[in-house]
């Protein structure tokens, strides 16, 4: 088997004296969707930030053949890693179109025509954004902003796309749309590392899954297996809750 696209070993991150991530190890294979689920405050956002180089870390991060400790964001972007951060970090006072163009900034030496072609490709995936292309990002609805964050990350032509709760605060119909897009991206060969509160949807779309608790990887396995693991079902899929409700009534 060839080496995975991303291999993280014994990653540790501390905020001051508090260790938010302890010896976390994970892999994302070429063309795979891997998900990390876990309760609030488990360290999921911390994990993605450290892999991207937003936060300093200890431990090894091997991405696309390069082995690094506490990488720099720029290097990761240049090698094809893209992060949709929890806070989205859009360019609020700039138009949708400018946000997208800047998403492709690492290809700034490309011709205008190539940039336009990339943008048209994305508008095909997100017709809603095309309608709103001239609007300021700050005035978009919550859902549209999520779309824009995702689309901007895609403009960078990533090999690995890391998504921090892409369905946060979205209506169920739009959540379905987001997961449809995630599946479509995989078909196009993009590998994805996905963090989700919506564990049920995440486990359905993913190939492999990790459970993060209190900064440690507590469980891992193929997503379809974890989805039936009684501990995961009890803690994250809410069946136990429903079961008890039924007993109570």
């Amino acid at each position: 088997m060839s080496a995975p696209l991303l291999e993280v070993s014994d990653l540790c991150v501390s905020y001051g004296k508090i260790e938010a991530l302890s010896n976390a190890s994970l892999r994302v294979g070429e063309g795979q969707i891997v998900t990390v689920i876990g309760p609030n405050g488990a360290g999921k956002t911390t994990l993605l930030s450290a892999i991207m180089g937003v936060l300093p870390s200890r431990g090894r991060i091997r991405f696309h053949g390069h082995d690094q400790q506490s990488p720099a964001i720029q290097d990761m972007v240049a090698r094809g890693m893209s992060l949709v951060p929890e806070k989205r970090a859009l360019f609020a006072t700039m138009s949708v179109e400018d946000n997208l163009r800047l998403g492709g900034f690492r290809f700034h030496s490309r011709s205008r025509r190539e940039q336009d072609a990339a943008m048209e490709g994305l508008y095909a995936l997100f017709p809603r954004l095309k309608e709103r292309r001239g609007q300021m990002a700050a005035t978009l609805s919550g859902g549209e902003r999520q779309m824009l964050a995702l689309a901007r990350a895609l403009m960078g032509g990533p090999k690995l796309l890391m998504l921090d709760e892409p369905s946060l605060g979205l209506a169920p119909l739009i959540v379905r749309e987001v997961f449809r897009i995630i599946a479509e991206l995989r078909r196009k060969g993009v590998s994805i590392l996905l963090i989700e509160q919506n564990a049920w949807a995440a486990l359905r779309v993913a190939d492999y899954a990790y459970v993060l608790e209190l900064g440690r990887i507590a469980m891992e396995g193929p997503a379809s297996e974890l989805a039936h693991d009684p501990r995961v079902v009890a803690a994250y899929l809410g069946m136990a809750g429903k079961h008890q409700e039924m007993l109570a009534s």
Partner: protein
């Protein structure tokens, strides 16, 4: 006070106000991109004016040496940085180019007399010295502490300003200097005689503002610089390097500052330490714009120019006091109408 005097004062105010407006824009640009209050902005102005004067007066042009020293320091720092990162020292091509450029320009300005070369050539050489100076200042003094608290950045800014003023005294001496006007004569509009230098100042300022507008609104690099100001993390995530953005904003500030110095030199006698008070007026303009709005900052600066000009007439010894007291009502009004909450982050 008759119409003639009003027009004369108004013209003076407009000339100075246009320069303050340029400086206000520059201070704003640097602040939004890097959170640095560019106190040394004024040194770009004074150094440019005095370098022009030195060329025209046939005295030695020493600014190249400062640039060379900073470029060498930048090279050492780059080598040190790669050493710490990769475990072995390496020389970047960029830093070699920087030192080579500074050396070539130093040789050129010391050996070739530029007294008769014409204002255009002198202005180009001056800008060729000062724009990279801005870049080097960022690399040497600010880039290593880019993530520091704004207060630390401010303190460093003040220190850099003080050091540069001292170096200015060494390079240019204590005497003031004035340069020749770009052209003679003027333009008669009805009863009013427009001074040719006023026309130059207004035309170049407008041209520069238009150029900046096109750069920031139309080009990808201009947008990238704006993006770095709007959301630092977002900019980094799309591959806009904060170091490059910082250097670019400093280079632009140095460009604006040197142009202002070249424009103002025929109107006002400039000393090695005159830059500060000039850029302070641009700074007041930027404050009026809330360190956020470009058009309001520019308008504020124009207003400062007028206030200064008319107070020279009425109470000339209180000129500076009046101008800087103007900032108080603005600050009171701003703090009263301030909504407090900024957006996310």
């Amino acid at each position: 006070m008759n119409f003639q005097i009003v027009m004369l004062l108004g013209q003076d105010g407009l000339t100075n106000g246009a320069i303050y407006a340029l400086l206000a824009l520059s201070i704003l640009l640097v602040f939004t991109v890097t959170r640095i209050l560019l106190i040394p902005q004024g040194e770009f102005v004074a150094f440019a004016a005095l370098t022009m004067a030195a060329m025209q007066g046939g005295t030695p042009v020493r600014l190249g040496w400062l640039l060379l020293a900073l470029a060498a320091a930048a090279m050492v720092m780059d080598i040190h940085a790669t050493w710490r990162r990769d475990g072995r020292p390496a020389v970047r091509r960029g830093s070699v180019l920087g030192v080579g450029y500074a050396a070539a320009l130093t040789v050129l300005t010391t050996l070739v007399p530029l007294g008769d070369a014409g204002v255009a050539v002198q202005a180009l050489v001056t800008m060729a010295l000062i724009v990279p100076l801005g870049l080097a200042l960022y690399r040497v003094f600010y880039q290593p502490i880019a993530a520091a608290h704004p207060l630390v950045l401010l303190i460093v800014s003040i220190a850099v300003h003080v050091v540069l003023v001292g170096v200015g005294l060494l390079m240019f001496g204590p005497e003031g200097a004035r340069t020749e006007p770009f052209s003679d004569g003027g333009l008669r509009l009805g009863m009013v005689m427009l001074n040719s230098q006023t026309l130059w100042v207004v035309a170049v300022s407008l041209g520069l503002i238009l150029g900046l507008y096109l750069f920031f609104e139309r080009s990808l690099y201009g947008k990238a610089l704006r993006a770095a100001a709007v959301n630092r993390l977002g900019a980094e995530l799309v591959g806009i390097s904060p170091e490059l953005a910082g250097k670019a904003s400093f280079a632009l500030a140095a460009l604006i500052g040197s142009l202002s110095g070249i424009l103002i030199a025929p109107i006002t006698t400039i000393y090695y330490d005159s830059g500060f008070i000039i850029s302070l007026k641009g700074f007041v303009g930027a404050i009026i714009g809330g360190l956020a709005s470009y058009p309001v900052a520019a308008l504020g600066a124009l207003l400062i120019g007028q206030a200064e000009s008319f107070s020279t007439f009425w109470a000339s010894s209180y000129k500076e006091v009046i101008v800087f007291t103007l900032i108080l009502p603005v600050l009171v009004w701003r703090s009263l109408s301030h909504h407090g909450a900024e957006d996310e982050e």
